[in-house]
């Protein structure tokens, strides 16, 4: 640990706070459906899309209509990507003649990208043509991000509106978020990445002859355009197998820093947007404060653990921090920070191999996802996941004082709490159920690369990452098998849509209620007491469920490491 390292972490957190309101203002304009400066340029495109699609953007939908339309849209896009991946061999921009993907891998990949997970059972550079990368996958990086933000907007409207069945128009939300937020951000960012060294070409490979006369085949492609939206949309699916550890995806420490900020940019903005939507930005700041407390704790543990290093390696004669699986140009602090950011958000991009982290350094990424990725979280999914915990927190506070709980002007009653619990319970059910199954079936046990507790951690991480729609991995696991492709695809689908549908139902239910002004008896949801309660509820409800599983994996491995046991 160095002063420079802590400076980097502190600067990162400060910059996140600094961009919260500017991003929030931009998001709030989209939330309200107001014109943005870009409307003048892209307005005709937006109107053209509506005309061709037969959409009236002013015609609002009930939560059922909103949810049905969104599910249907996701189903259609899943099938489109499945078809493109299966037919890869017959499509253009495939000079290497890569074959189509197997049915189970194509299905797993399509669902993975639709659900904003970007779990990758394949290695990009060895499996996908440039056309597959850009046409089968990149659109989902936009659309799954737009879907997350749209659902968050719908939930905000539920809180903000009074006695209406309508929560917005999903087609208008998706189109506007894509055109006026994600596309402009991605365009600027992609060019910044190229300026920083990231390739952007339709060429596929270049053959080099090294100074020693050896042959090396360099793989290129439209990397920057994919990289930009992969980070901004918290998708995380890399062009290359090594993801953001690959020098072509992440060439310098400066680009690395920008990548970390871009993962959080929209997520922090949404906290402010929520506060503004419910008429009090302090509501948003309270949420961000709770998030950043959890975040700072996580990054401190990872940075300490990785800097102290591995006593087993020390005994073998390798002194100092744990460099296995890390890139030299980023350094220890930026590797620890990236791992914490990418799992606090539902990004899943990695700039170091989590599988080779120390036990405690690897525990935090796992735990971050198991908390539901509500520490800033994925774009949209982070804030709506967090608001579910907020509903639980006011419910618990209400039980303590014996009053009907209220949150930002809405009474929280049995229906909302039931739906919130439903969405929250899906996570442990899927993660622990899937892990248990894979830990006893031969097809599951064939997966892990490492032995002992770490092998169990690889399985646990796979189901955690899939259900949480994160997409990072303890990458040693061999997951490209029909067993894992199938089971993890189910986990990803459930983790995404068994969350989105209850959230939209809550939005509909809240929108139908009237707004009640805060009174002396209302529990204040802006101060330190509230922030403390939120942190406690997230840690206890979200985290405690997973403690036994974590004890079998990283915690057992930590004990084994100290005792000098090898597997």
């Amino acid at each position: 640990m160095t002063l420079a390292g802590w400076t980097l972490i502190a600067l990162f957190i400060a910059l996140c706070v600094a961009i919260t309101k500017p991003m929030g203002l931009w998001l709030f304009a989209l939330y309200e459906g107001r014109a943005t400066p870009l409307t003048r340029v892209l307005g005709p495109v937006e109107r053209g899309f509506y005309r061709l699609a037969g959409v009236d953007p002013a015609r609002e939908q009930t939560w059922r209509q909103y949810a049905l339309a969104l599910l249907l849209f996701q189903l259609v896009t899943t099938l489109a990507t499945y078809a493109l991946l299966r037919l890869q061999a017959h499509l253009p921009l495939n000079p290497r003649g890569l074959p189509g993907l197997s049915p189970d891998l194509a299905m797993n990949t399509a669902i993975s990208f639709v659900t904003n997970t970007n779990w990758q059972a394949y290695a990009g550079e060895a499996t996908l043509s440039n056309l597959s990368q850009m046409l089968a996958l990149v659109p989902h990086n936009f659309l799954s991000a737009a879907s997350g933000i749209a659902v968050a907007f719908a939930l905000f409207r539920g809180f903000a509106r009074t006695q209406t069945p309508f929560i917005g128009n999903v087609w208008a939300d998706l189109t506007r978020i894509t055109l006026y937020l994600l596309l402009p951000l991605a365009v600027i960012y992609a060019l910044v990445l190229v300026a920083g060294g990231v390739p952007q070409t339709f060429a596929s490979t270049v053959d080099a002859t090294t100074l020693e006369g050896a042959q090396q085949t360099l793989v290129l492609g439209p990397v920057a355009s994919q990289e930009a939206i992969k980070m901004v949309g918290t998708n995380g699916g890399g062009f290359f197998n090594a993801n953001s550890a690959h020098p072509y995806e992440n060439p310098t420490a400066l680009i690395n820093f920008v990548q970390m900020l871009s993962i959080f940019a929209i997520g922090v903005g949404l906290t402010w947007c929520f506060g503004k939507a419910v008429g009090n930005p302090r509501q948003g700041w309270a949420i961000l404060a709770a998030m950043l407390i959890l975040f700072a704790g996580g990054v401190a543990v990872v940075y300490s653990a990785e800097s102290v290093g591995n006593p087993l390696l020390h005994q073998a004669g390798l002194a100092g921090a744990n460099l296995e699986g890390k890139e030299l140009r980023f350094g220890m602090a930026a590797s620890a920070l990236f791992a914490t950011v990418t799992t606090a958000a539902s990004c899943g991009a990695v700039n170091a191999m989590h599988d080779s982290f120390t036990p405690l350094g690897g525990l935090i990424p796992l735990f971050n996802i198991e908390l539901g990725e509500v520490v800033v979280g994925g774009v949209g999914s982070g804030i709506y996941g967090f608001l579910l915990f907020a509903l639980l927190a006011v419910f618990i506070a209400g039980l303590m004082v014996g009053r009907t709980p209220e949150y930002v002007g809405k009474k929280i009653e049995a229906r909302e709490v039931k739906l919130a619990v439903l969405a929250i319970v899906v996570l442990p059910l899927c993660i622990l159920g899937g892990t248990a199954l894979a830990s006893v079936l031969p097809a599951g046990l064939a997966g892990p690369l490492n032995h002992g507790p770490h092998g169990f951690s690889e399985i646990l991480y796979a189901f955690t990452s899939a259900t949480g729609n994160n997409g990072s991995a303890f990458g040693g696991i061999s997951a490209n098998t029909p067993f894992y492709n199938g089971l993890l695809a189910v986990a990803m689908w459930i983790g995404r849509f068994f969350m989105i549908v209850p959230v939209l139902a809550i939005a509909g239910s809240l929108a139908g209620k009237r707004v009640i002004p805060a009174s002396a008896g209302s529990f204040p949801t802006t101060g330190p007491l509230w922030v403390g309660l939120l942190v406690a509820v997230i840690l206890i409800v979200g985290g405690l469920t997973f403690l036994p599983a974590l004890a079998l994996g990283p915690i057992a491995e930590y004990r084994a490491m100290l005792a000098g046991t090898l597997f």
Binding site: A123, A203, L318
Partner: protein, 193 residues
């Protein structure tokens, strides 16, 4: 409910086509056009050319093994330094395979710094630490029959320092260092881009 589904069918199909075309074709094509015009070197992979031949990329490690060249970090990408199979070892902290590998490398290379004993995340890490380069100076100097002080001076001049003092780590690009070494030794041609 069925009516709602039918009504959603046309927007779902049409917007899929339109948004895929916009974000999956128009967007990457436009970025490629601008990138190729403004930053052709980076956009094409930061290739290093000598005598009109591509000898590699400034961003991608190569498996230098001759004693007269500086060596990169070990690589777990394919059979080593294979850009078609990037990745790390993924060995965990209690892995016998990892500990045995490191112990064997320590025995073979006493005093080697940590970055020369660990595989990187990508297997293509183009850099080594200044200490790792200094540790190799004696071997390189002996193989090249060049004064150690001159090689050490080259190493010192090749160090890239962290931006603003805290962004990144001091490091040396191995390919660039070896090119400079060839130039110093007068081997190979001198035209680099």
């Amino acid at each position: 409910m069925f009516d709602d589904l039918v009504r959603a069918l046309r927007p779902a199909l049409v917007l899929t086509v339109l948004l895929f075309a916009l974000t999956g074709l128009a967007y990457p094509a436009a970025i490629t056009a601008v990138a190729q015009a403004l930053f052709p070197d980076a956009a094409n992979g930061s290739l290093v050319v000598r005598d009109g031949r591509v000898i590699g990329s400034g961003l991608i490690a190569q498996g230098f093994a001759a004693p007269g060249y500086f060596h990169p970090r070990p690589s777990a990408a394919g059979k080593g330094y294979d850009p078609t199979a990037s990745g790390g070892s993924n060995l965990g902290p209690t892995s016998r395979a990892l500990i045995d590998r490191v112990a064997a490398d320590v025995r073979a290379n006493p005093g080697a710094p940590a970055d020369l004993l660990t595989t990187s995340g990508s297997g293509l890490d183009p850099d080594i630490s200044p200490q790792a380069a200094q540790w190799q100076v004696r071997r390189v100097a002996a193989a090249r029959h060049i004064d150690e002080a001159r090689i050490a001076g080259l190493v010192a001049a090749s160090v890239e320092t962290p931006l603003l003092g805290f962004l990144g780590e001091p490091h040396i690009n191995v390919l660039k260092l070896n090119l400079a070494l060839d130039k110093l030794a007068g081997t190979g041609a001198h035209s680099t881009r």
